[in-house]
């Protein structure tokens, strides 16, 4: 049952190019949905339309069955957290958090209680009387989060909220955000261009490209079964081969320049023959152990040791191939050596070529 419903949303600034192009999205109550995509893909514009800061050119936005499309931002019950925090510099932390309650005319006594609760929720109970500029970036973002949540919004929108923080703080805040999502249970729509963030936090990910929605699915499905080549390349590390599904024998795919491989017959039947892009994730390729049904000979060009894993980049008849192995590299894995790469038929994901 959809709670926040985005129906055929279009936004065009100049009347020619659509920044957001026919986006359809159903978001469930309490869901953590991430809008993921490169810059300029329309994810932020979509968020701004949900918030009411931008007016859609066409389409509708509904919340719990009510049409929000033409409603002003202050007539919606939606909280927003911005990348640059957007805290009011002339107000203390407590007054920043109390601001939505003042504007919504909550009773005074209730205001103080709510502000206290929210500051405890984000771990800033001792900072109520500080000014924003006296806080670190991470602390400021917590205040912004408290301000966005304090009035019990129907939805909380987050526009790259961790984008301005450094890596370790970002990871810490990801965990924190998930905890707050669990505790508060509010529906969250989260915009990011960082795929790791999307993978670790979301219930579902909506992948945007050039204003269009490419796929909406849970993180693992987006990772293992991308609907388009763009999604497969944007999320995670990938090997893509061009091939042709043999309509005479479901399960046989002829890779361009690399020969035949076995694939999932069911997937082949669904696609029904023709050109396909074959995706094999680097960690699913094997360099050691008993060879799996699909094999390719590869000359190793470079090995990159990350300590906990090794990335092997090689070349198979002009195709670059990336293999990720857990642990330390074997003796046979040296730059310049020729090795056999193998994978199991179920680890190849087929995408109809367009």
């Amino acid at each position: 049952m959809a709670y926040l419903r985005i129906d055929r949303l279009v936004k065009s600034y100049d009347g020619r190019v659509n920044a957001v192009d026919d986006v359809i999205l159903d978001i469930a109550r309490g869901e953590f949905l991430t809008l993921l995509g490169p810059s300029g893909s329309g994810k932020t514009t979509t968020l701004m339309m949900i918030a009411g800061f931008e007016e859609p050119t066409r389409g509708a936005i509904e919340l719990a069955g009510e049409d929000l499309t033409r409603r002003k931002p202050y007539e919606r019950n939606i909280g927003v957290v911005f990348q640059n925090y957007a805290l009011f510099p002339h107000m203390t932390v407590a007054r920043n958090v109390a601001f939505p309650l003042r504007m919504r005319r909550f009773p005074r006594a209730q205001q103080a209680t709510r502000v206290g609760q929210m500051l405890r929720l984000v771990g800033l109970a001792d900072y109520a009387d500080r000014y924003p500029r006296e806080l670190s970036g991470g602390q400021q973002q917590r205040v912004a989060l408290a301000r966005g949540l304090v009035f019990n919004p129907d939805v909380l929108l987050l526009d790259e909220p961790l984008g301005a923080l450094d890596k370790s703080l970002r990871e810490q805040m990801q965990v924190e955000l998930k905890r707050i999502h669990r505790e508060v249970g509010v529906t969250m729509v989260y915009v990011t261009h960082d795929q790791t963030e999307a993978m670790t936090m979301s219930d579902r990910i909506a992948v945007f490209n050039r204003g269009r929605l490419e796929q909406v699915a849970p993180p693992l499905e987006v990772y293992h079964r991308p609907r388009t080549r763009f999604v497969g390349e944007f999320i995670g590390d990938s090997n893509f081969f061009r091939g042709t599904v043999d309509p005479a024998r479901w399960g046989r795919v002829e890779l361009d320049g690399l020969g035949p491989i076995q694939a999932d017959p069911e997937a082949c039947r669904r696609i029904g023959g023709g050109l396909v892009d074959v995706l094999v994730r680097p960690e699913r390729l094997q360099l050691a152990g008993p060879a799996l049904p699909n094999t390719i000979a590869m000359k190793i060009a470079v090995t990159v040791n990350y300590g906990d894993s090794v990335l092997v980049i090689g070349d198979a008849g002009g195709h670059p191939i990336r293999v990720r192995m857990a642990g330390a590299p074997l003796d046979s894995v040296r730059e310049g050596a020729t090795v056999t790469v193998s994978w199991s038929p179920t680890d190849a994901h087929l995408i109809p070529h367009v």
Binding site: Y74, F88, R147
Partner: protein, 258 residues
């Protein structure tokens, strides 16, 4: 070290001629004389007790406050429109707003003389306020557009999603955040009117004599050392004003939310 010495020398070069009026204002001489033969504060007493000097001082104050108000009324909406919207002829508008800075004051003065005379405003406070209010537009516009360009519009968005309509967003967020810039703009407008002499000479007539005009006339007729007193006070006022603007800018967010 050398750059510091150079800077101090340059500052001295700029300030020294002005500072000469300070000892002269405490002089006992009956006319301008430097160095003064002896010191006393008699001319200060004269300034603060004579109607002849206090009235222009009061006129200047009233006119500068009026001009400041007029300038702000013109500049604040113009600055919002100029910074926040795209429209045809924007650079032309900018040129027009800046034109009081480019046109020689004598020319402006002559134009105002004819224009205000037609409306029977020559020689009135209102006439000088109108002229000074317009003359101060460029400076205030520069200061306020600069502040506005640095304003993060996400603050307004945050306020709106918090439930504040356009008016409350402006009152509770936009205005307080922009207040330091607005104050500096207003201060400059005030000083620009308070110090203005050329236009005042032409249009103030007998009815709205300002301090600079009175000083000019006094120099021509009698070289009264009270002028040194007034100069000292004016320079102090300007220095205080500039210091105030520095303080306002340095501490943008210290004032509590109204």
């Amino acid at each position: 070290m050398a750059p510091l010495i150079l800077a101090l020398l340059a500052a001295l070069f700029l300030i020294a001629p002005i500072l000469i009026v300070v000892p002269m204002s405490f002089s006992t001489a009956i006319s301008f004389q430097f160095p003064p033969p002896a010191y006393w504060i008699g001319y200060y007493r004269k300034f603060f007790t004579s109607e002849e000097w206090l009235e222009p001082a009061l006129n200047s104050l009233v006119i500068a406050l009026g001009a400041m108000a007029l300038t702000m009324l013109l500049v604040v909406p113009a600055a919002f429109g100029y910074v926040r919207y795209r429209f045809r002829g924007k650079s032309l508008v900018n040129l027009l707003i800046m034109s009081p800075l480019i046109v020689p004051h004598v020319v402006s003065a002559l134009a105002y003389y004819g224009f205000l005379g037609r409306f029977k405003l020559a020689g009135t406070h209102l006439g000088v306020i109108v002229a000074h209010g317009v003359l101060a537009v460029p400076v205030a516009f520069l200061v306020i557009t600069a502040t506005l360009k640095g304003f993060d519009r996400n603050l307004e968005r945050a306020a709106m999603s918090a439930g504040a309509g356009p008016l409350r967003t402006f009152v509770h967020v936009t205005l307080p955040v922009l207040r330091p810039g607005m104050l500096v703009g207003a201060l400059f407008a005030f000083l620009s009117s308070f110090n203005e002499a050329v236009v005042a000479l032409f249009i103030a007539g007998r009815g709205a004599v300002t301090l600079p005009k009175k000083m000019y006339e006094s120099i021509r007729l009698e070289s009264d050392p009270v002028i040194a007193v007034v100069s000292t006070l004016l320079v102090s006022a300007v220095v205080l004003g500039v210091l105030a603007s520095l303080v306002i800018r340095r501490r943008p967010a210290l004032r509590p939310d109204a």
